[in-house]
C-alpha cells in the first residue's frame, strides 16, 4: 500500500497545494466566513444582553449564568444535537459557534462599561451631556478596548472551534483535517491544521493592531 510508508505518505506533499488549491481555498474561505459570521452574530446578541444587564443590574447574574451554561456545552454534543434537527448545514454549525462566543463577549463588554470611572460619568453629566451623548462620546469609546479584547478572544477561540464543526460536515479547514484522518492521508491533515493555527494567530494579531489603532490614549497599556 502506498500510504504505509513515510515516503509514500509524508506529513505534507507540496504538490497538493497546486493540485487541490480549489479545495484548500474553499475550506479556508469557509473557515473565515464561519468565524466572522459567528463572532458578528455573537457580538450583536452580546451587545443586547450587555445593554439589558446595564439597564437592569439584577439581570447580570442570570445573563452570565446563561452565557456560562452555553459555554459549558461540549462542542461535540452541541453540534450533534443540532444536526438531528437542522441537518448538515450552515445554521447547525453557526448556532453553537455563536453560542460559545457569548460568554466571552458579554463579559468583556460589561467590563468595558464598568471601566468607565464614576467621576468621568459625573463630569459628563455635570457638563450637560445628554444620556445619548454620554453613551456615544464617553462610555462607548472607553469601553472599546475591552470590546476589542473580547472580540479578539472570541474570534481566536472560534477559529479553533470551527474545525470541530467539520464533524457535521461544515467545518472549513476542519474538513481537511477530518478527511486526512479518515483516509490516513497526512497532507490535507497537516495543511488544514497548520492553516487553522495560522489563521488564529493572524486574527489575534489583527485585533491587537486594531485595538492599538483605535485606542491611542491607552497605547502604553497594551500587550501582545
Amino acid at each position: 500500500m502506498p500510504l504505509t510508508t513515510s515516503a509514500a505518505n509524508p506529513l505534507i506533499r507540496w504538490s497538493y497545494f497546486t493540485e487541490q488549491w480549489d479545495r484548500i481555498q474553499e475550506a479556508l474561505l469557509q473557515h473565515i466566513q464561519l468565524t466572522l459570521l459567528a463572532v458578528a452574530a455573537g457580538f450583536v446578541i452580546s451587545a443586547g444582553l450587555a445593554f439589558l444587564g446595564l439597564r437592569y443590574r439584577w439581570s447580570i447574574g442570570p445573563i452570565t449564568l446563561f452565557a456560562a451554561t452555553l459555554y459549558t456545552i461540549p462542542s461535540v454534543a452541541f453540534f450533534g444535537v443540532l444536526v438531528n434537527y437542522l441537518g448538515l448545514g450552515l445554521l447547525t454549525a453557526l448556532i453553537p459557534l455563536t453560542a460559545f462566543t457569548i460568554l466571552i463577549l458579554v463579559t468583556n463588554i460589561l467590563d468595558g462599561f464598568n471601566a468607565v470611572p464614576a467621576p468621568v460619568r459625573e463630569a459628563a453629566d455635570g457638563m450637560g451631556l445628554t444620556p445619548t451623548q454620554r453613551l456615544f462620546t464617553v462610555e462607548i469609546p472607553i469601553a472599546v478596548p475591552y470590546m476589542i479584547n473580547g472580540l479578539r478572544i472570541a474570534t481566536v477561540t472560534t477559529v479553533g472551534l470551527v474545525t470541530v464543526a467539520a464533524i457535521i460536515g461544515y467545518g472549513g479547514l476542519g474538513r481537511l483535517i477530518l478527511d486526512g484522518l479518515r483516509r490516513t492521508f497526512w497532507t490535507p491533515l497537516t495543511i488544514g491544521a497548520s492553516l487553522s493555527i495560522l489563521l488564529a494567530l493572524l486574527f489575534d494579531l489583527l485585533f491587537f493592531l486594531l485595538g492599538a489603532k483605535l485606542t491611542p490614549w491607552a497605547k502604553r497599556k497594551q500587550t501582545l
Partner: protein, 401 residues
Amino acid sequence: MTTSTPAIRLRGVTKRFPGSSEDAVSDLDLDVEQGSIVVLVGPSGCGKTTTLRMINRLIEPTSGTIEIEGQDVAALPTTQLRRGIGYVIQQVGLFPHRTIEANIATVPRTLGWDKGRIRARVEELVDVVGIDRHMLTRYPDELSGGQQQRVGVARALAADPPVLLMDEPFGAVDPIVRTRLQDELLELQSRVHKTIVLVTHDLDEAVKIADRIVLLNVGGVVEQYASPDQLLRQPASEFVASFVGEDRSMRRLNLSTVADLPYHHGPVVEVGASPAQARSAMEDEGSEWLGLTDGACFLGWVEGTEVVDGRRLGDLHRFLPAAQVRPDSSLRNAMEVILNSRTTVAVIDDDGAFGGVVTLERIRRALAAPAADDATSPEGALPDAANAGTAAADPATGHGR
C-alpha cells in the same frame, strides 16, 4: 453688594434620599452674591456635596426652589442648565480617551461653536489656567494630578459660564500643589469674577478662599453663614466653635495683613533728632531700643543706653533690623518673622520706605478685639492708644547686646 439679585438663591431646599428617615439637607436658605466665592464646609454627612449637586440638578431637591440669576433651575432642561454652569470635581473626571484639547472643548462642541472659535477659546483657557500649549495634544493619563485639575477648571470654564461649582476640587493633590492651586484660583477669580460655590472639608482652605463661608451641620443645617474672619472671631454656636477649633485665632492671623493694622510709628526718630527727643520717643513706647530713619529710609536700631546728651544719634553704633515684613504679609507671617528673629518687633518695609513697625503685642490686640461690623477690616476694632510696652528684648539682631 454689587447687585440686588443674588446670583444663586436657595429657598427652603430640602433633600431626603429614598429609604432614609433623615433629611440630608433640611430647609436650606442661601444667597450667593454675584462674583463672590462661597464655600460650603462642614463634617461628613452635613449635606454640603448634596447641596452643591442640587444646584446643577445632579440631585433633584425633595422640596424648595433654587434660582440662578432669577431663573428657577427646575424650569430648565437639565442639559441646558448644566451647560451654563461650570462643574469641577475632586477626581477631575477628565475623559481618558480624549486629548486635553478635546476635553476642554467638550461643552463648546455640544453647543455647536465653530472650530476656529473653539480653538481660540481653548488656547485662551490653557493660558489662563497655566497649562503649556504643547500639552493640548496629550492624553489625561500623561499629566500630573495638579495639571489634570487645571485642565478640569479650564474645561469647566470653556463656555464662559457665570457660575462655577467646585466639589472638593483640590482634595486629591498633595499639600504643596493644593496651596498653589488655591492661589491660582484666587488669581483667576480676580480676573474672571465668576460666582463660585465650592465644597471642602478643609477649614483652612475655606478660610483662605472664601468671601463667605457656609458652615453646615449634619442634616444640612446652616450653623453660620459669615465671612471667614467673622466665623473665626465670633462663632455663632458651640458647634461652630468646636468645628473651627482651638486654633481659630491662629487661623485668623492668616486672614489679616500687616497693612490691616493701624499705622504705628514705634520708638523711631529722624537721625537728626536730639537725644532728648529720642529718649522721649523711647519712653512713650517703653522701649530700650531706638530706631533711626533718614527720611523714608530706615537706618537701623541703636541701644537706648547709648543715647546720651552730647552724642549725635548718627554717630551711634547701628544694628540692621533682624525682622522685616512687608505690608501685604499676613499677621501670621509677621509673627513668625518676629519670633524667629528672637525680637518682639518687625520693621515694615514698604518697597524700601519705612512703613512703621509691628509688634507681637499689637498682633495680640488685633486678635483680642471684639468683632467689627465689617469684619474684613479689623482696624476699627483696634485701640487707638498704642501705649503698650514694645520690647524688653532687643529689636535688632540677637547678638546686638
